[in-house]
Amino acid sequence: MQLTGDRFTHDAAAAGNDFSTLPNFPAEIRAPVGTLAGVSSFQLQFAAHHVHTPGDQVDVLVAMNPAALKANIADLRSGGVLIVDNADFTARNLAKVGYTEDPLTDGSLNAIQVHAFDLSSLAVGAVAELGLNRREALRTKNMFALGLLDWLYTRPEAITLNFLERKFADRPALLAANVAAVKAGYAFGETSELFHHRYVVPPAPIKAGTYRRVSGNLALAYGLLAGAAKAGLQLFLGAYPITPASDVLHHLARLKSSGVLTFQAEDEIAAVGAAVGASFAGQLGVTATSGPGMALKAETIGLAVMLELPLIVCDIQRAGPSTGMPTKTEQGDLNQALFGRPGEAPLPVIAAQSPADCFAAAYEAARIAIEFRTPVILLSDGFLANSSEPWQVPQLSELPEIHPNFATEPNRPDGRYWPYLRDERLARSWAIPGTPGLEHRVGGLEKADGSGGISYDPANHEAMTRLRQAKLERVIEFVPDLPVDDPDGSAELLVLGWGSTYGPIQAAARQVREAGHAVAIAGLRHLNPLPANLGEVLRRYRKVIVPELNLGQLTMLLRARYLVDVTSYTKVAGLPLSQAELAADLISIIKEDLR
């Protein structure tokens, strides 16, 4: 199913639709097929308008067996279309997933347009002549389904066929079979008379440019690499596999031709340690993990704060606490990112807002880390990581420059080198090994400002503690004012999200506005330091709602910082925020609280 969804997404992209996808994997590696735990699904929303989420309720559901039907039917909207392969609807299979009656015949799906047929046999029949064994033949059913969907949505078959030719270039038998299956599916749509409508989804009005499809983890990997490349540094990733961050390692491990060094460490502590080492050596050290791994890295991140070295720590959040639900999404690590270190150890925190935005967020993280010599925490989450959307490919030449500004000369009148002399931004001087005359030592003990020598002087510690905080605040230079989307300026309600909630917020706002209400929305990318205009923005609205996939972590920050009585709106179900639910709640708030 993942492949069918993937290719159908490309068809939507080629047709100029905007889209958003969400693959959904079982928690087990290969949970037995036909069980609820074993269902793998792929959700796609595409449209002629801007799309911000993979959608909550679906219009069309393709279910290949009873388990898939059971697991997903609740998401199909009333009146929606169900395409279902009934080949496996035996009593035994139905019972296995808890159906006592056959849902295709017991009337329970009356509110739905059901198209049930033996898709498996049709696919097997279509490839009958091609010499595949039964297992291989059965596998082509996914391509049959794709052909059928292509027909239903009036997509040209050519894109899929081209792809198959590339994919199976050296396996002609499989190529022929898959092509035959696609064509058979397409023909089935055309001839079976099961379907009374075909759909045409016109292109969405998106900015002119070259687009590609990208998932959050891939965009993030590219953003890191772009940052290193623009700074002229090697990218070094130290990582230990963990869901849903492992793909960052997988993507970067393939980029050896781009000079990326990846180090699969023995644990998360070694991973971040090696990244700190790489940065000390004058490269861009990065590490990527999820919540439990973040906890383990905390001590070393604190060291990087003290050393004042560039470092990017990517936290692809998953549902917690503890092992939690590793394959599910959440925004539970904001507090950990901001506060999860001993002592006062401030550092910049950036959150990506959409799969494609992971690129820009990672690039910004690199720019801040390198130019301010500071560790930066980059927050993404399981939803962004695996979800994909169109991405206007950036021109690297147009991205802001990044200057590591390595020290090459002594910086003291007496010809010495002091590693903790600072520039106007309070960023310290950065000399890397191999530079003659600038030999120096850094460490985790408190140091005298300027010289960097160990210091237990109370006044120095006081000054250094405040200086590290002041440096963090200088990062505001790279933080743009928060733009608010408030079309006619009449809204009394502001919905402020951060990270991945901004997609659903945008989608919900569309619904609220379509329902005739005014609502302002904004999405925070910079969580530390916060944008300079944020206080003013918050005070501008009668009511501020802050949706989060946690119990109100940003809310706490905003209330503390601005003393504004913002309202927390929280979901912790391991799922992306539901746009429909949010829209409904916003409308009732507008109707009731803001009358």
């Binding site: 998106i206 990326v260 340690g273 790489a278 690297l396 460490g443 003990l445 020598g453």
Partner: protein, 350 residues
């Protein structure tokens, strides 16, 4: 193999010093702050003497340490250095060694730092064979935290945290390293400067991970832990590749193989020098080195082999990792390549 090519040294790739360097070049201006009589002083002095002899540039030397008395080491050397956090120096050094083949990378650590909290990083650095040289100061005690027993303390040790005696069996760091596939493993003693020099020189010249255990006296919390060994008639067994393993006054004792295959010690006069085994530090297989490591008594320490247990050639992790990279092109071309990469193959235009 038809030709004999000299193996790459641990220092190959590190630029040579232009002029001659002296000890003074490597002395930093930080005030040395160990207790009077601490064995760390002797090692520091030896090391400051050794560095200029290696012939590589001072600015291309990096010393990374963890936390502990011994881990103050980098501050006293005028090279690049990092006094990091407890136990993590091997991991940090791995990142440095991987990204910078032009650096000579040293790790300074203690028995607590390397074998207690940092045990995992140590064994993994050894297994991978990262090109770093690890100096493990073993004083069989936690010095900096004022004297708790460590993973190398003998069982029964009375300390603040074990007021009626510790009940842990100690590690034998040499055995542990060999079990972790280490390719260079040696042991030396703080006060034996010439030996220290020799062993450290071999270690840094070994390409890959080198572990050097240094018996170091802590006069404050574990005084004379090695006195039994250091005594003139003590039990230091000096291992030298290709030579029979003898020790004691006038080399009157030797290491022999018992009928069951294990090693033991015996008076040479009794068994005959022919029975004394000849050390082979370069044996591909670590069986002999391991067997030798077991001659160390883990209790009060009256017998311990020193010298190089094992020194074998094996590809170093960072060399292999770098070899997988294609050469990074000049900045312009690099950005153009990257632009192609991120654009990808399946694009569309709006």
């Amino acid at each position: 193999m038809s030709e004999l090519v000299s193996p790459p040294s641990g220092l190959s790739g590190v630029p040579l010093a232009i002029g001659p360097l002296t000890r003074k070049d490597f002395v930093s201006d930080a005030e040395v702050r160990w207790c009077p009589g601490c064995g760390d002083y002797a090692v520091l002095a030896a090391f400051q003497g050794l560095l200029p002899e290696l012939g590589v540039r001072r600015e291309n030397t990096v010393i990374v340490s963890g936390i502990g008395c011994s881990s103050r080491f980098p501050y006293y050397l005028d090279t690049y250095g990092m006094h990091s956090i407890h136990g993590r120096a091997p991991a940090i050094a791995t990142g440095i060694a991987m990204t910078r083949p032009d650096l000579s990378v040293w790790v300074v650590t203690g028995d607590g730092d390397a074998l207690s909290i940092g045990g995992n990083h140590l064994i993994h650095a050894l297994r991978r064979n990262v090109n770093i040289t690890i100096m493990l100061f073993n004083n069989r005690i936690y010095g900096l935290t004022k004297g708790q027993y460590s993973p190398t303390s003998e069982r029964g040790k009375v300390t603040k945290s074990s007021p009626v005696g510790s009940v842990d069996a100690p590690f034998n760091p040499i055995s542990l390293a060999l079990g972790a596939e280490a390719t260079f493993v040696a042991r030396t003693v703080d006060s034996h400067r010439a030996h220290l020099n020799e062993v450290l020189t071999a270690a840094v010249n070994h390409r890959g991970a080198s572990l050097v255990e240094i018996y170091q006296n802590c006069p404050i919390f574990n005084d004379d832990a090695f006195a039994g060994l250091k005594a003139a008639d003590g039990g230091l067994i000096n291992l030298r590749h290709g030579e029979p393993v003898t020790f004691g006054p006038d080399n009157s004792m030797g290491v022999i193989r018992r009928p069951d295959g294990t090693l033991a010690t015996a008076p040479v006069a009794e068994v005959g020098i022919g029975q004394v085994i000849v050390h082979d530090a370069h044996a591909a297989d670590p069986q002999l080195a391991f067997a030798l490591s077991r001659l160390t008594d883990s209790g009060g320490l009256t017998l311990a082999p020193v010298g190089i247990f094992r020194d074998v050639e094996a590809p170093s992790y960072d060399d292999l990792a770098r070899a997988q990279l294609t050469a990074v092109p000049k900045p312009k071309a690099r950005l153009a390549d990257l632009q192609r990469l991120i654009t990808g193959e399946e694009t569309w235009t709006a």
